[in-house]
Amino acid sequence: MPAQRWRNLLVQALIAAGLLALLWWLLDATAANMRERGIRSGFDFLLEPAGFGIGESLLPFDSGDSALWALAAGLANTLRVALPAILISTLLGTLVGLGRLSPNLLLRKLCAAYVEALRNVPLLLQLLAWYFIVTDLLPAASKALQLAPHVFLSKSGLSVPWLGGDGGLIDLPQRGAMNISGGAAMTPEYLALLLGLSLYTAAFVAETVRAGIAAVPRGQSEAALALGLTRLQNFRLVLLPQALRGIIPPLTNQHLSLTKNASLAVAIGYPELVSVANTTLNQTGRAAECITLIMAVYLILSLLTAWLSAWLERRNGRWADHS
């Protein structure tokens, strides 16, 4: 059917051209409007000194560094909270999800209560609550709890010895006149965000896991047990590989949401990507540019996650077929 194929190609090309034209028109109209209103634009600000400080940063950052480096530090801070939170929420969520399928009534109810409670309260409120609980409960820096030699817990966060520092191999946290400084600190902002994101996402992960396992037909388990497989073998060899097919795609979505939800940190003072981009935006006035950058970064993160998910699915597919 060559004619049909040509027609299809033509239609697709027309749609693509139309989309491109629309995009171009949007960009052009925005630029023209901004010019007309005397609003400066351009990405030149990225190489100018940022001029503001970042309270905690995985990457070394000083206010004299460029705005681009500030944004990189923000992205690093996003990943610093998102990756551990993904790990924790997946483990916890899996346990809760399995708990909901447990034959034990109490455990089942507890897990159900967890899911309902966390899923139905807006994340922003949860983060604010965790943050103010954490900051209110912790002792002032001057009365820091010493958990171990050189490990302090206070309103300045959890400070532990770390590599590097001004002189020498190991940087030890010290009680200073002001607060605890030195070493690596997990600030209350970081702890609250990590906790809030992990617990919230775990509720969704639990539902995903529960649904994935429940979707495997009962007959499969019955057959496996009849064939003499143990419960554990049945779970590992029969249930899990089939369940994973249904679990992985929504699970990746949860991980992606978690990464995006990390941007709620602006409310509780953790300097992740959006917080740093907001500050940059406000200092330079380049709103369109900063928002475009944020969108581009999140788009790339999403595409990477989708790609990872596809790869996992393929791998799992092979595994399921072989076993």
Partner: protein, 337 residues
């Protein structure tokens, strides 16, 4: 986050921007001035328990509504946090931004805005816990300092401590409320913003004001004043001259109380300002008693100051740099002539 996106969309769709001279017509047509204010900085702009807005910045809005619409009550207040304020003005959501906003080069020259005049000369200061026994900001080495984002405050903090060679850790919040809550829960050793706002934060927000002190240093110049959109020179002139008229009124001793008497003054300058002998209003596209209406609604600059932040208010801020030029201050209005 949402507001900039909405603004972008508006910028896209509104292909014909609010053209020159249009703001006055629009304000008259809707018989209402839309004024951007803060979400609550007592003394400058804050709503009381009945929802009435008060403060110096609010009085400027009222004065302009009085001059333009002959009714100081015809103002719609739009509370904006530090980050939202410029986008709200750019997109045309408000006619005027009257909200403790510092005049800087970047803002004046690249945001499509014009600063009109200075209504309050301020500077950035620090509020610290008394128990730290600090007497100078230079002792804040390694301190954690709570600050609101979207402010000049954030960058001054970086600049000043860099110049001092001292490292500090800013803890940056998007919302004013969250930033002061974190400070008063003890998360930060210091809070920084405009000194005028520190006075209110200490006296109104602190669980116990005596546990906190404002350090003597001011680390920056913060000239605060109302802002309008670019491209509307007539509106720009109106806002500017209403403010100048309030300052002139103080200089000539015209008050809310003696206004009617002053209208009969033989002094030509007073006659001109109050629209007696000469019609100064028509040059601005306003009625001839534009300035008299403004003074009648809110009093002269000195009265606005005393009522909201000065001796007649709980804040008790000294006039300082905000006294008239001939009384040792910086306030100097070009002549209404």
């Amino acid at each position: 986050m949402r507001l900039p996106i909405i603004t972008l969309t508006l910028l896209l769709l509104a292909h014909a921007p609010a053209h020159a001279g249009k703001t006055l017509d629009q304000v008259r047509q809707r018989a209402q001035l839309t004024c951007g204010v803060s979400t609550g900085v007592i003394g400058f702009s804050a709503a009381d328990s009945q929802g009435h807005w008060n403060g110096m910045d609010v009085d400027i809005c009222r004065a302009i509504a009085a001059a333009v619409l002959n009714d100081a009550a015809k103002v719609k207040y739009v509370p904006l946090n530090a980050q939202q304020r410029f986008t709200a003005l750019q997109s045309g959501e408000i006619d005027l931004l009257s909200r403790n906003t510092t005049w800087t080069l970047t803002r004046d020259a690249s945001l499509g805005l014009h600063f009109t005049a200075v209504t309050y000369y301020d500077g950035q200061g620090f509020l610290v816990q008394k128990k730290l026994k600090i007497s100078s900001a230079k002792q804040l080495k390694n301190a954690e300092i709570c600050v609101q984002s979207g402010t000049t405050t954030e960058k001054n903090l970086g600049d000043w401590f860099k110049a001092q060679g001292i490292k500090v850790k800013p803890v940056v919040f998007e919302k004013f409320e969250a930033s002061i809550k974190a400070f008063f829960s003890g998360r930060c050793q210091a809070y920084t913003t405009d000194a005028s706002a520190l006075a209110f934060i200490r006296s109104k927000e602190a669980p116990n004001p005596d546990d906190y002190v404002v350090l003597p240093e001011l680390i920056s110049k913060e000239p605060l004043g109302p802002v309008v959109r670019r491209g509307d020179d007539e509106w720009f002139a109106i806002v500017k001259w209403v403010i100048f008229a309030l300052i002139e009124a103080e200089e000539y001793g015209i008050t809310q109380a003696n206004l009617e008497r002053m209208k009969a003054s033989p002094d030509p300058a007073i006659q001109r300002l109050l629209g007696g002998a000469e019609d100064s209003g028509k040059l601005l596209g306003l009625e001839r008693d534009w300035a008299a209406r403004a003074v009648k609604a809110v009093g002269n600059y000195g009265e606005i100051f005393q009522r909201n932040v000065g001796s007649a208010s709980p804040l008790k801020l000294p006039r300082g740099a905000n006294a008239l030029w001939n009384k040792g201050g910086l306030l100097y209005a070009p002549p209404v002539r």
